[in-house]
Symmetry: C3
Subunit: 301 residues, 3 copies
């Protein structure tokens, strides 16, 4: 493992290794040391939470970060190519974490520089560290990854998070229920892929009818910025809101995950129930990113 | 002590404890270790000096910081609630330092998250770490806190710094002289409070007449941004300027404090006199903030 | 050595000492420890690369940084003088690194504060750490500094980098060839200085005719922002482009240096040749800045 660009690059064994390493880091059984190591966080797209999560991961391992944001006040203004910027940063840092609105930006970076690159989201394409922290969270809550019944709710068309997650879980014999507004359905290429792999899935309209069969439910935000017409957003945003009243007869092991930020797709009255797991999920992201950094930089002793 | 939100929450003993701890940290007799600890600095209002002071305090203890500024490029744009932002940050950091223009923001944060919160200024309300570093500075310059004669000069109406300080010194039998332009006087509720506590104070117009009786003088900036009409500011700003010529017969132990930044309320010719203490006061702020962090995070060995 | 403001302040011995220290740091023979030390990076002018290089240098020595950018969200807005800002920062940090568009800003800072100051570029005046890393790069590539034949190409009028470098190399008996568009020639005061020191130089129009005699060639960007009329820039920018085809018969020890960012003055087909040294040069900058920090803060054991 030289870079982490796409879930498709990872074998099942590698995924299991990273989950195992995350668990050990959380428990303090493994303490990677990144002293005097530097991660360059190149964030060409705003993302507080992903940026903070990576910065936290690196700093809590004893390492350091330098952050490049946007293109203002950078050499890009002076006409420098993206390749030159990357090659220069690679002289300073031990690791590049890159987030960009452009699909393939992270792959290009990995092919350009000799140091490890982590994709922290490239447009609508991949966000593999999110998928990995989601799987880690599923493992922690269910004690297993195999044979789970999973509801996936919200914007399934534009949500790269759920695309990566669904692909990643395919190795573990899941049963999926996809609930979304009709024009925000899971893209056909993902459904085709599931069909080919003989994975059970169903597209549903109402979550309530199925929720008591779920081991877990993954809810995503319906992102305003994906809509050309604000009115379309207003029409949609109230759909698929999860409230406490829906959780009366769910399974004991049932958990709700959400990549955050949430707007109103999960009522705050859910937060105090034992089914809310989204804030712990954010914390899991730090452990998983520490595991990924350790795996790439070789400090995983 | 779980949080530091308001001076009113602190007992006299807690104040004295923090002063003692600050002294020990300054002398190197106590070296708290914040390695692998992370403070989230949430600055919703610009403040170079307070931000730098906290960042310095944490970093010189071996700790690390992550900074969130304003609301641009944050999840707030995406419609996230303040509570959710706080709960997410609390998954990453060990401590939150928050500055906001909104009164009560820090208290709300403390009630929302399980980790310690420090109020770094909430609107016109409280700025307790400033009050504590001021008291620490008074103790260092006067070798005591009791029975001091203190001039307080400048904008006494809007200056939260002097409000907190006057309240905090009330436990130590002070005598106050308040000098301000007539429409920027100390608010009645503070004067009432002093009367009730039987603390001697006098409102004066001319500083020069009284300065030779002062043990110390606390000067504040008359803040342009508090005036609706710029002309009112221009009329006022020259008043109460302290110059070297006023210091001919002051007490030997006399010191001038100022929370900084200064504009022209203290002439630069004062800087070279033994009475100028404002830059050292800024340095004291680092020691006091280190003491507060250590007290909250339990690293005060 | 208390500050680093201008190459003119450094003796030849001091330059050689810094080169030697940089080499030892690169080889790991010297490991300065900046734990719990703080560098304030005051960048009043955008400069990704210089900022990152200093931040990297400090952090990879175990130290920490705080960064002040521009004037927005700083005390300058509140009417604070530059001297007061400096004096306050000096209470927090152990070292100030300053970059400003104003000539003499760094010198003024050094005269104002008691802590060491490093000039990271003051307008068209000096950029001594760049000159030092350039000399360090020359030493590494040529194994010596004496008696070198050096082509200097590009914008020689406004390029402070080449001015500092030419002055710095004057101690080592160089032979210079200066190639630039006619209205971007090396300023007369520099040529006069070389004449007085009896250093051989020639102003040339065509690089190709002389390139095979060069030990190294220093290429600079023709900076768009220096031109009042964009058309003038467009006319000029294609001139003096270095391409692989020009390098057929260069000396074996020949290397191309460039302070970066590059626009198109060196074709990317040069990058894969053994003559391209500009990215390694950027890395050398980290070692040199570490050496300078260690020399100023006394951690050079």
């Amino acid at each position: 493992m030289n870079d982490l660009i796409s879930m498709r690059d990872l074998s099942k064994d590698e995924v299991l290794y990273l989950i195992d390493l995350s668990e050990k880091i959380e428990k303090g059984e493994c303490k990677p040391d990144m002293s005097r190591k530097l991660a360059a966080l190149m964030f060409y797209e705003p993302s507080t939470r992903t940026h903070f999560s990576f910065a936290t991961a690196m700093k809590k391992l004893g390492g350091q970060t330098i952050t490049m944001r946007g293109t203002a006040s950078t050499s890009v203004q002076k006409g420098e190519s993206f390749a030159d910027t990357l090659l220069t940063i690679a002289q300073y840092a031990d690791l590049i974490v890159i987030r960009s609105a452009i699909e393939g930006a992270a792959r290009y970076a990995a092919e350009t520089v000799p140091i490890p690159v982590i994709n922290a989201g490239d447009g609508a394409n991949q966000h593999p560290t999110q998928a990995l922290l989601d799987i880690f969270s599923i493992k922690k809550t269910q004690k297993k990854l195999e044979d789970l019944t999973i509801g996936v709710v919200g914007d399934l068309k534009f949500g790269r998070t759920v695309h990566s997650l669904v692909q990643a879980l395919s190795d573990f014999n899941p049963r999926f229920y996809f609930a979304s507004p009709s024009h925000l359905k899971m893209p056909p290429y993902i459904l085709d892929d599931l069909t080919q792999k003989k994975i059970a899935f169903e597209e549903i309209r109402e979550v309530e009818k199925y929720i008591n069969t779920f081991d877990l439910m993954y809810v995503t935000r319906i992102q305003k910025e994906r809509f050309a017409d604000p009115e379309d957003y207003e029409k949609i945003k109230g759909s698929y809101i999860i409230s406490e009243s829906m959780l009366k007869e769910v399974k004991k092991n049932f958990k709700i995950l959400h990549p955050l930020p949430r707007v109103d797709e999960i009522s705050t009255d859910v937060d105090a129930t034992p089914y809310a797991y989204y804030f712990q999920q954010a914390r899991n992201g730090v452990y998983m990113r520490q595991a990924i950094i350790a795996a790439l930089l070789g400090g995983d002793k």
